[in-house]
């Protein structure tokens, strides 16, 4: 079986990101109030020739001219119902999508301060949240124009803006002007370096490497990474085929709290490591990390930040370079340089590090054969005001994240409940949560820093740094599916 994919039939945000070219994004949270208007809008958005209705961006290759704007939609289960999808078809969608994000809370770690009953509008009324439209644009004016157009057909329940940032935006103005690409997120890390790559548009199985993924990773109706396993394509085929699912998350990051914790951890390490300090930060190690001689505490903070993430804040994988970040790699070469690494034992990257838990690559995992099967596409953009640790504030800021895959249960939820929290993928971390984004409490949190001699030092007492402030599971329909939805006749 080797079907070739028609890129004109796919929504564009599944196989590629827009952030490199379009640095502003707006999410519109929509309710269907006038069914006729909603269907008319969807029908017209496919062709995109009707004045006042944006065209849905497909996966078709951009020729020389890059677009000024990209527009895509996701539909919740409630949205499919509101658009009049027949019950027989609704019954063929997977249970996690039907239940919706709020009812999957315990699996996702959305309890305590992250519980859905604390989420602000429009996420407090999942029954009314029908569609999420995403606008990427070169400037704010375009975002406003498209929002106006969409609001003619739907009731806009809420709006969220986000934009790409440089290191100066997330780590303070002292970092300005060193030419870093605008892929920084709060906590200071470069983001979106590793993504499954779809460099073949047929169903032929690609080589089993970590960065080449079969289409079934993100598209319904294609072979997946699990041998012989196909996910159910919702019926009718016109609706389900080449669709995808998205977990949209509003993730507030306690940026100030994270920096404060790094201070605390560095101080503790200075006091407690004693003779073992050489195994974490050798003499003059701070210079390699980018500090002046003697700035030991600053360097220790960066080591903690790097080991907790699995990457130094500029993106250098700890697995490749445990003692310092690698500087001076040209921007265009960074993605490749920062992606070429392995967790083959013995690895210099702690097993509990964020990026190793969420994507264990070739490292040994308890669930043999699951190394790559839970991979998904991530598209995120930071929201909220810029942050400067020298002038900290406690404004809400964080990430608007999209976690895209053909099966929410097998990918997003599987990572969230067993690996990110609980740490079931490796016996050394089982029972512990992800240090960066896990559902931690200071009473029980722990993270083992890896020293050069293979021993570890256990850090404890860090709080939950990331809180869920909203979200929804959406279905990302193909273009034929959007046409199907626009032509429904019921009600």
């Amino acid at each position: 079986m080797s079907k070739t994919l028609d890129l004109n039939e796919l929504q564009g945000n599944i196989l590629r990101g827009y952030r490199a070219d379009l640095t502003n994004v707006r999410y519109l949270f929509l309710e269907v109030v006038n069914l006729g208007e909603a269907r008319r809008f969807l029908g017209a958005a496919i062709e995109g020739v009707t004045p006042g209705i944006p065209k849905i961006t497909t996966a078709a290759h951009w020729a020389d001219q890059k677009p000024q704007m990209c527009f895509n939609i996701g539909v919740t289960y409630e949205g499919l119902k509101a658009l009049g999808t027949p019950a027989s078809s609704l019954a063929t969608f997977p249970v996690e999508f039907v239940e919706g994000m709020t009812r999957r809370a315990l699996k996702l770690g959305d309890f305590g301060p992250s519980a859905a009953n604390h989420w602000p509008a429009p996420f407090d009324r999942p029954d009314r949240l029908h569609l999420i439209a995403t606008i990427y644009a070169v400037n704010q004016d375009i975002l406003d124009d498209i929002q106006d157009q969409v609001s003619q057909a739907f009731s806009v329940l809420g709006v969220r803006d986000a934009r790409a940032r440089t290191d100066a935006n997330v780590l303070g103005p002292q970092y300005a002007g060193d030419g870093s690409p605008n892929n920084r997120v709060f906590f200071g890390y470069a983001d979106s370096i590793s993504q499954p790559k779809f460099n073949h548009l047929t169903d032929a199985q690609p080589e089993k490497t970590s960065d080449s993924a079969p289409l079934g990773t993100v598209l319904l109706g294609h072979p997946t990474r699990m041998e012989g396993v196909m996910f159910r394509v919702p019926s009718p085929k016109a609706l389900g085929l080449n669709g995808s699912f998205n977990a949209f998350r509003v993730l507030a990051q306690d940026t100030h709290g994270f920096e404060l914790y790094l201070d605390q951890a560095a101080e503790e390490l200075e006091q407690m490591l004693g003779e073992r300090m050489d195994q974490l930060l050798p003499v003059d190690g701070e210079i390699l990390i980018g500090f002046e001689k003697g700035q030991r505490r600053e360097a220790l903070r960066e080591i903690v930040a790097a080991q907790m993430c699995g990457r130094w804040r500029n993106g250098t994988p700890v697995a490749n370079s445990p003692s310092h970040p690698i500087f001076n790699i040209p921007n265009k070469d960074q993605a490749e340089a920062f992606n070429a690494f392995s967790y083959a034992a013995p690895s210099a990257c702690p097993v509990g590090a964020h990026i190793r838990r969420t994507n264990p690559r070739d490292g040994e995992v308890v669930q043999r054969g699951s190394n790559l099967t839970r991979q998904m596409v991530r598209r995120g953009m930071p929201y909220g005001p810029d942050f400067d640790p020298k002038n900290p504030d406690n404004e809400e800021r964080g990430l608007l994240g999209n976690f895209i895959g053909a099966n929410l249960g097998a990918q997003f939820e599987a990572v969230m409940c067993d690996w990110l929290n609980l740490g079931l993928l490796h016996p050394d971390i089982t029972g512990l949560n992800d240090p960066l984004i896990g559902a931690n409490t200071p009473e029980t949190s722990a993270f083992d820093l890896l020293l050069r001699d293979g021993t570890s030092y256990r850090l404890r007492g860090f709080p939950r740094f990331v809180k869920t402030r909203g979200g929804a599971y959406t279905f990302l329909p193909s273009l034929p599916a959007i046409e199907y939805l626009s032509q429904l006749k019921s009600r």
Partner: protein, 238 residues
């Protein structure tokens, strides 16, 4: 209430022991209650929980009625299992999160009982990836099994299918039944206060809706430890 209870209380408390009342309750009282105040069948398997110690080791009690309810049918099921036992055990080993699993037949039901780490859906999905083709043979012996064969093409459906046949686990604290019933009826848990003296009725009606069930979450000899942690500790290779 035991001290100073009046004759009427003592009489009411003795009712469940009286033969005439047992008949009356079976034929009239319980069916009447169930008709007036029905309780939905509660879902099987362990409930999601926050604490790792509770959610780490979990129990599955999968009950699958045999198609052929006769000694011949039971023998056929036994044959399918024994012919494939090596592959089944290898598959379970590859899932990596299973402490114990065994098959038994009780009253023409083929049962698979297992203790596994972590999430139910991940367990079943990984199990099917490992030995879906072998399990298809087992499913051909049980009622409703044909709906999910081949399992590798029906992973989502099969997970739901197993969940539906996994025994309801009665909460360890009896009063927790109220919140579960509220949730199943789409109400916020304990939004209306429940009276303690309604507990017996709530329990009886629930056990009418879920005639087979597991009594509580079960005992664990080494709670909070995963299979891989134990294998690692004893140098067995995980």
């Amino acid at each position: 209430m035991a001290n100073g209870a009046g004759w009427f209380d003592r009489f009411v408390n003795s009712l469940p022991e009286r033969g005439w009342f047992k008949s009356l309750s079976n034929i009239v009282v319980v069916p009447f209650w169930a008709a007036v105040d029905p309780r939905p069948k509660l879902p099987g398997g362990p409930r999601p929980s926050v604490q790792p110690s509770e959610s780490l080791q979990r129990m599955m009690n999968l009950i699958m009625p045999l198609k052929n309810k006769s000694p011949v049918g039971r023998a056929m099921a036994a044959m399918v299992i024994s012919q494939n036992i090596d592959e089944i055990f290898t598959g379970l080993d590859n899932v990596g999160t299973i402490h114990f699993a065994r098959f038994i037949i009780i009253d023409d039901n083929l049962c698979m009982l297992s203790v596994y780490d972590g999430d139910f859906s991940n367990y079943i999905r990984d199990f099917i990836v490992a030995i879906g083709n072998v399990f298809d043979g087992i499913l051909s012996q049980v009622e409703g099994g044909d709906d999910v064969i081949p399992t590798r093409d029906n992973v989502d459906k099969f997970i739901d299918w197993v969940h539906d046949r996994d025994l309801f686990q009665l909460p360890d604290f009896a009063t927790d039944i109220f919140a579960l019933q509220d949730a199943a009826m789409g109400r916020p848990a304990n939004s209306a206060a429940h009276k303690l003296d309604e507990l017996p009725r709530a329990m009886i009606l629930q056990l009418k809706a879920n005639p087979n069930f597991s009594l509580g979450g079960g005992y664990r000899g080494y709670a909070g430890l995963s299979v891989a942690q134990i294998r690692q500790k004893f140098g067995l290779g995980w």
